[in-house]
Symmetry: C2
Subunit: 171 residues, 2 copies
């Protein structure tokens, strides 16, 4: 079964047979798949009055464990956005009463961002639905294929330096 990228590659083969467009087989598909998956996930988030950005912050706080508290820098390092984006995400979540921002005890520059009970309840409610959606999106893949996919993706990520906490862009 051919997908969109197969047609793109075939078109390039006809127009620019001098070029090796094989990397598009991977990168073109990554781009399209991520976009389709994002659209799927978005619907589940919306059912819980969330979007991907808010879910990302709440989930990062939740999985950090009690007391569900991180600094903006901690959130920044898990995310792949700029510090400005984190500030704005926190503004929105704070306005909704899902997180609080308090001065950090030890470092006067920093703040502690913590899940409120409402924030924790929301993420705990949304998470199972989110995982069900993720499962459904991957249902077309069998176990060996999934494992091969995970290994290939991890290899590429490590190759690109995604091994420890880092900001939005590679240097």
């Amino acid at each position: 079964m051919a997908d969109h990228v197969d047609r793109v590659v075939q078109q390039w083969g006809a127009e620019r047979p001098d070029l090796d467009v094989s990397p598009m087989e991977v990168i073109g598909r990554l781009k399209r798949l991520t976009r389709l998956v994002d659209a799927e996930l978005k619907r589940t988030f919306a059912e819980h009055d969330l979007d991907a950005a808010s879910f990302d912050v709440l989930a990062t706080l939740r999985r950090s464990g009690p007391p569900y508290r991180l600094t903006p820098t901690g959130l920044l390092q898990s995310s792949m956005v700029t510090s400005g984006a984190i500030s704005q995400r926190l503004d929105r979540l704070e306005a909704r009463g899902l997180v609080t921002r308090t001065p950090s005890g030890s470092d006067g520059r920093s703040r502690d961002v913590a899940l409120t009970p409402e924030g924790q309840a929301l993420i705990d409610r949304a998470l199972p639905d989110h995982l069900a959606t993720e499962h459904r999106v991957l249902a077309g893949l069998d176990e060996p294929q999934t494992e091969a996919l995970v290994e290939a993706l991890r290899t590429l990520l490590v190759h690109l330096g995604d091994t420890s906490a880092r900001g939005p862009a590679p240097e």
Copy 2:
């Protein structure tokens, strides 16, 4: 070698051992990898005074073959954005003299979008550099891994319906 997603999955395992977070192994990596790859590609585009959106339009016209002409709907179907985004992309490219918009002969509602010689020269100049960057990003993968990756991605894309020309979101 562990990547960022390995740590995320491990955290969830400690906090919510009741949930199966294994789909994150795939989807979390897709998201992060796409973002890292996009950042790499962006630098190459910038060297040619392009961004991903402009490159996408010019490349779609270029690979469609002579006379390098498509309607906005044709461009829309290859892209994964809304019609409003296509209009705006074309505004920018037209202002730079890289494409022209002329009334379509057969259908009074439509326009013909065509590459100018400058547009064609630009995409033909940028394309080899772009492919070199894509190659470099994938350099960590050997041949069998790449093939397994491509097969898994295509399976997922077909599963999500990415088989023919379509708009920005699945229904």
